[in-house]
Structure formats: C-alpha cells, structure tokens
Amino acid sequence: MATTKIIVDEVEYNIRIRYETLRRAFEIYEGPNSGTAINGKMIRDIIGTKYWYQIDIEADPADPESYDSFYQMISSPDESHEVTFPYGQTTITFDAVIQSGEDKFMGMVGGKNRWSGLSITFMALEPQRG
C-alpha cells in the first residue's frame, strides 16, 4: 500500500490507497463559443483545465473507523469537497465533485466490519486554469 496521504476538506484520513491505483486526468474545458471557422480551423473557447483524480481505497485494518469517517464524508450530499492530491513534485488542491462510490463488505474480523474495493473519482468542480 502507498503512503500517500489523503486530505479532504482539510482533514487527513488514515486510509490506504491501493498500490498503483491513483490515476489523474485532465480536460481542456471549452465554453459555448467554440466552433469551426470558415477556413476549417477550430475556434476554441477555452475556459480552463479541469483535473480528475481516481483512487482505490482500502481501510487500515488497525483503524477501520477512519475509513468509516472517510466514507461518511465522501458520501455526504455536498456540492463539492476541497481535496489535495500529488501534482508533479508537489500537490494540487481544488474543489472536487464526487458523484458516486461503491465498496464491498468483507465480513467481520476481530469484531469489526471490514470493507474493501472502494473506488472514487474526484472531478474538479471548475476549471483550474484559464
């Protein structure tokens, strides 16, 4: 498991990111004024760049409560959450939209429920650069 920390809404959660599951993507976001010019060239209406992060989460067996808190937070009906992720050799913080999530009940161990297979996509609420 990776040691990358996950900070959401300025709270650091003691949960684990499954190895090689942190993925990022970007989209150059265009406004309604995009189109095609009469000479065939695109006319771009660039508003900014939107970033996406996707991660698979596992609970720390020694701290399943932290996982539960994280789950409670990301499934809350809020418009967005401020998240911080690795970005290049530093980090990036933005307001992210979380639309859905799913995990699987893995039974009880040591009197505690175990959950596994949570995959979350963090989609930027608005373009970052523009």
Binding site: E30, G31, P32, N33, G35, T36, A37, I38, N39, K41, I43, R44, D45, I46, I47, G48, E126, P127, G130
Partner: protein, 739 residues
C-alpha cells in the same frame, strides 16, 4: 464563467460598490447597434449573471453605473435597470446604455436658431428643456466625446415635448451623427467615415452566417418643416388656463396647448413664471398663458432612386429639426445610403477589437470579400467573445452636418458670383428664392356724400357722409424657389419693380386695384413660375419676411384706424332742440410716421333768422347752415355753406365737401420709417391708399317757425365725399440665396 480578464464594476469605477471577476461571472451578453442609415437609434443592452454572497446587491440602485473591463481596459459603460436574484447567491442583472436611461425622462423641447449640437445635446441630457440650471446626468455628460467638427454643428428647428431619447435621436438624425461606443467606454458622437477597413480574418469567422441583398428602394421623401409667426394673422390664443383650479403654491410645468412652437413672448396672467420656452413654462399660481401660435408648413424634398414601381418609398416625416437649412443634405444622405447599399451580411465572429459602427472587411457567407460597416453586434462572453454581427456593405458615407450656413439678399440687377466655398462642398449646391415685385396698393375709397337733415329726425336717422375706407394692401410678388446642384460660376439676375398703386377713386364702394409688379429672374429661372403668398416667405437665418401681402403689422394698428377718411359733420333733433356732431379729423400717418399730421373737418355754414345771418351756434330758429365735410389725409374738410334767403324763400346751407385724400403712400422698400423695416418691404405689396373724407350734412330747418309766415323753405343737399387717395407702389422684387 467568462475569461478571468473580464471585470464588471458596479458604481463609481474608481471606487466600485461591487466588483465581479471572470470566475464570478456566469454569463454575459451585450447587444449594441448603430444605424448606418441614421434612421434609428437603439438602446444598447447588457445582461449578465454573477455569483455574489453579498445580498445587498439586490438593492443596487436604478441607473447605477456598470463598467465592463477587459484586459485592464474599459470597454463599455451601462446603467443598471434591475437586479433579480435567481438562486442562492446568484443574481441576474440587466442594464441599458445611456440612451436607454434617457428614454424614461421627459424633455420639454425647444426651438433652435443655430445653437451648437453640443449645446443642444447637453441641454437634452442635463435639463428638462426649461430649467437651464439643471444637471441631471453629469455621469453621462462625462462619457460624451465629440468627433472633430461635430460639436459645433448648428441646430435649427423645433423639438416638441417628448422623451429625452427621442429628442436626442432627432438631433442626431437631422445631422447624420451617430452615437456609438468609443474608446474606454465613452460615448462617441461622430459621423461615419470611409476609414481604412479593419480585416476580420477568416479564422475568426464562424461557419454559417447569411447574406441578404438590399431591398429595392425607389424613392426618398423628406419632409422639411417651417415655422413662421405673424402677429397680424396669428392672433393670441389661450395656451394654458388653470383659473378653475386651486392656486398652486408649488412650481409646476404648464404645457402649452399648441401643436407648433410659440415664437413670441407669451402673456402670463396671474402666474409667476420661472422658466419658459416654446412649449411650456415652469410657473406657480393660478392664471392663464396666451400667445399667437406659429404656423407650421411642410414641404417634401424627394430623391428618385429607381423607376421600379414595386420599390419601397422611404419617408422621414416627423423630424422637425429638418428645415430649409438641412433638408437637401439630409435627403442626399438617405439617397446615398439606399442608392448604394448592396447587401447585409450576417456573421458570427470571434471578437478581437471590433465594435458597432466600425468599417471592416471580411468574407461573407457567399465567399465574397466585402467591406462594410458593422450595424449590429450581439456579444456573448465566455473564454472568448463570440459576436453576432450585421454588416452593411456598399455604402460610402457622407460627412455629418452640412446644409446651408449663409444667406445673401440680392436687389436690383447684376451678376452674382457663386462663392468658392460652395464648390468645396461634397455636393455643390445653392438654393435660390426669387420674389417678384409686389403689387401696388389699392386706392382708398371715396367719402360718402352727406345727407339731408329733415325736421324731427333723431340721432341714428341722420348722419354725415361716411369717410372712405382705406384700400387693400397690395399682394406680395410671386415667390419661386429652386435648388441648383453643381451651380455655374456666376448668374445674371434682375429683380422686378414694384407695381404702381391704384388710381384715386371717386367711388365710395369701389377701390382701384394696384398693378402687378415685375418678375424677378436668376439665370434662366423666374419668379413667374411661382405663386403669391399672403404671409410671404421668412428668411431662414434672419427671420425677416419678404414678399408678403401688405398688411399693417409693419406699422401698427394706428395706421389701420387713421388711414380712412373722416365722417362729415351732422345734426339731429333731440329733446326739442338740435344737437351737433362735428366732422371727423383724419391723420396723415404716412409722411412722418410715427409722428403724424392732423387734418380737420370743415366748419358749419351760418344760419339765417327772419332778419339776419348769424353764426350757427345756437338753437334758435330758423334755417341752418351746412355741416362741415370730413377730413382726409392731405386735406381739411370743406366748410358748410351758409343758409340762403331770397325774398321770402329760404334754403338751408349745403354740406361741406369731404377732403380728397392726397397723400401718396410711400413705396414699399423705401427708407420710410427707418432702415429697420426696410428689408421687410422687398417684394411686398404696396401700401393702401387713404380714404376720402365724407361730405357734410346739409343744413336743417326748424319747420314750425315757417308755419303761417308766408315764407317758404327748402333743404340743401349734403356735401360730396372726397376722393380716395392713390395706392402705394409695391416693393421691388428681391432674391434670397442660401449657400
């Protein structure tokens, strides 16, 4: 969301109440337009939505200034119309341009005689047209910029009571001036010029668009408005009356009941007046306002573009700032537009720095390279600004303003050289008004013969002979107006002489009319092609009236009253005795006006008793002398004859003859009565002849004194009336030239 370089400022841009950046602006649409033909003036509009956590935004005041900034440059200035909260922390705001703001306010108009465009525009924006101390919109005034030569354009004509937007539109329309967005959010008053067009690259033109060929216009019709006031014909009318209302202690605006401007000082009765103009007044109190209304005449200037019977006629009728001074230039401007406009191209472009009114070159939807003016633009801001544009191509604009700025009066004959400045105009042009010589005045009417006074007739049953009336003033010369485009270098001209006045008349019921004046010619044109007008024609620049029918406004009502002949003297029985009415005097007001010479009626003849002749001053018996004749301008009335006795036969005295009117009225256009009136006589009809004096009544007889005395008696006739005087010669013709 729009580009981060966009800022919207609400309030004073140097210290805004609210400031929104691109991240807070959800959407933004800006609609602007500039009528390339000048026939419309639209209100630009701004709509945008913003995120804002300050709820006081919803209470932002109407007309709060809104400034659009892009890349640190002010691009547009609008004024708030309303704010609507659409969601939590989301507000939609609508705003209008200065023009839209002005459409909500009244302007009480004005009548302009050459004030500059800047003066008039400032008055419209800052005042209500009455109170000149008002400064309603300093924020708009500070935005105005005048292109070279525009501020000083002279304005002539009338603006009726209307909203400020319409008033401003009329001013700009009449002069071919457009109001468009200038640099740094200013409002630029300018003409359209053949600037080197700015290229819109193909890579900035969206696929789509359309091209529409210009409609077929076959005729241009422009209505020219003239307002004249003549104190003789235009009698005072009640313009306002609140006498049935409670006295108003506070100031209010009394709107004149008129459909034309008041061009004379009104009479304010019972009201305290603070400000007034040609349409209304600011007053307090209860009372009335009266003044003569001006006459509004319209004439149509037309320009034919094509023979196509299906073509549309473009008419401009209601702009009362289109006058003699600018109607031709105005018609030319419209003609030039509709004759030359080829097509309207519509295209969406990626806006770089284009704006409405700009001259651009681009590829239209047919793949053709065209050059034209952007007449409409709808901007939708996002990361870039996409602007839907309408481009009018084919039009080569003419400079704003223009029209006639000089007038010259020609009299006599000679050659007139067209000034060099005429040939420096886009369309060299002069307007020539030929006025023929005025018709001579009609002769005065002769006085009436005096009557006989029989015993027992009472007042009302007897009179002396009535004085003759003055004649009719002569008609003005024929007036013919011609506009000469591309005139020759010079023209020969000759002004017709005024017609002779009518010959003296010996008839109490007939006046001899004057003769018509000669025609006035200018080159190959002649006043013979024109028509006479009772009110003549008013010179546009000095307000003087030429070529009108002779009336008495030139001299005052006094002349109307005293150019008639005097009535002859008469006597009547009353309360058992005789009473007398002396013969009337007459005045010569022509020779030395406003001083005058008095002419008196004649004296009564002596009476006779049974034994002697006595002065006719008592009520004694027996037989009376004739009464004196009435006076006329130029002579005293004749004396009545004394009563006669031949043996036992007695005859009362014959009435005195009324005086002949011998004063010859001065020729119109002479220097009589001073130079200040002299110009007004040119082409005017001749002055009327004076009336002759009425004959005196024949002497009366006390009939009971003759009963049984063996004497006989008879009644003498009244005196003859005097002849009416000759009419005055008409004024010589003249020529007015505008250039």
């Amino acid at each position: 969301m729009v580009a981060e370089s966009t800022l919207i400022l609400l309030g004073d841009p140097s210290d805004p109440d609210f400031e929104f950046n691109g991240r807070q602006i959800i959407d933004l649409t800006e609609d602007t337009a500039v009528s390339i033909s000048g026939e419309e003036m639209s209100s630009d509009a701004l709509t945008f939505s913003v995120k804002c956590e300050d709820a006081t935004l919803a209470a932002a005041a109407y007309a709060t200034q809104i400034t659009i900034v892009r890349n640190a440059l002010v691009k547009s200035t609008f004024f708030l119309r309303y704010v609507e909260q659409t969601k939590e922390n989301i507000y939609q705001i609508e705003a209008t341009s200065a023009v839209g703001l002005l459409s909500k306010e009244y302007f009480y108009g004005g009548y302009y005689t050459g004030q500059t465009l800047q003066t008039v525009v400032t008055s419209i924006i800052n005042t209500n047209g009455l109170d000149t101390t008002m400064t309603e919109h300093p924020e708009i005034i500070s935005l105005l910029q005048y292109d070279e030569g525009v501020a000083s354009i002279p304005i002539y004509g009338w603006i009726k009571i209307t909203d400020k937007r319409e008033a401003l539109y009329q001013v700009l329309l009449s002069q071919g001036v457009r109001l468009m967005k200038g640099e740094n959010g200013t409002l630029l008053l300018t003409g359209l010029y053949n600037y080197t067009p700015a290229d819109i690259a193909d890579e900035n033109i969206f696929v789509g668009g359309s091209t529409e060929y210009a409609e077929d216009v076959s005729l241009i019709e422009v209505t020219e408005h003239t307002f004249t006031y003549n104190p003789v014909y235009d009698e005072p009318a009640k313009l306002f009356d609140n006498t049935n209302s409670q006295s108003a202690g506070t100031k209010f605006i009394a709107v004149f009941n008129t459909d034309s401007p008041i061009l004379t000082t009104p009479t304010f009765s019972g009201l305290t007046v603070y400000y007034w103009n040609c349409n209304a007044a600011i007053v307090t109190g209860t009372g009335t306002i009266s003044a003569g209304k001006s006459r509004h005449t319209e004439s149509v200037i037309s320009r034919k573009i094509s023979e196509n019977a299906e073509g549309r006629t473009v008419s401009v009728r209601d702009c009362t700032l289109i006058t003699t001074q600018n109607s031709e230039v105005f018609a030319d401007r419209l003609y030039n537009y509709y004759k030359n406009v080829v097509m309207t191209a519509r295209a969406d472009i990626k806006k770089i720095d284009e704006r409405c009114g700009a001259r651009v070159r681009l590829t239209n939807s047919l793949g053709q390279k065209i050059t034209g003016f952007i007449s409409k633009m709808t901007e939708r801001a996002s990361g870039i600004i996409k602007a839907g544009c309408e481009i009018i191509s084919g039009y080569t604009p003419t400079a704003p303003g223009g029209g006639y700025s000089h007038a010259v009066l020609l009299t006599g004959s000679g050659s007139w050289t067209v000034p060099e400045s005429v040939f420096q105009q886009t369309t060299p042009r002069i307007k020539v008004i030929m006025i023929g010589g005025g018709t001579g005045g009609g002769s005065g009417y002769a006085g009436e013969k005096g009557g006989q006074c029989h015993y027992g007739l009472t007042y009302g049953e007897v009179t002396g002979g009535a004085g003759g009336a003055h004649g009719e003033g002569g008609e003005g010369g024929k007036i013919y107006t011609v506009t000469i485009n591309n005139p020759a270098a010079s023209y020969n001209y000759s002004c017709g002489a005024g017609g002779a006045g009518g010959a003296a008349s010996s008839s109490h019921s007939t006046s001899n009319p004057g003769s018509a004046g000669g025609d006035t010619s200018f080159g190959s044109y002649s006043s013979a092609s024109g028509a006479r007008s009772d009110i003549g024609i008013t010179s546009f620049f000095n307000g003087k009236v030429y070529g009108k029918k002779m009336d008495f406004d030139t001299y005052g009502a006094t002349i109307n009253n005293f150019t008639k002949g005097g009535r002859g003297g008469f006597a009547w029985w009353q309360n058992g005795g005789l009473s007398w009415q002396a013969p009337e005097i007459a005045l010569d007001v022509y020779t030395n006006y406003p001083n005058y010479t008095i002419y008196n009626g004649g004296s009564a003849g002596n009476a006779r008793t049974a034994s002697s002749e006595i002065p006719d001053t008592t009520d004694g018996w027996v037989i009376k002398g004739g009464r004196g004749g009435g006076a006329a301008a130029g002579g005293n009335g004749g004396n009545g004859s004394s009563a006669l006795q031949v043996a036992t036969a007695y005859m009362s005295g014959r009435g005195g003859k009324g005086a002949d009117a011998t004063i010859v009225p001065p020729k119109a256009s002479s220097s009589w009565n001073g130079a200040s009136y002299e110009d007004r006589f040119w082409g005017c009809g001749g002055l009327p002849g004076c009336g002759g004096g009425g004959g005196g009544q024949g002497g009366t007889v006390y009939e009971p004194a003759f009963a049984g005395s063996g004497r006989t008696y008879s009644y003498a006739n009244g005196g003859d009336g005097g002849n009416g005087g000759v009419g005055g010669q008409g004024g010589d013709g003249c020529i007015i030239i505008y250039y």
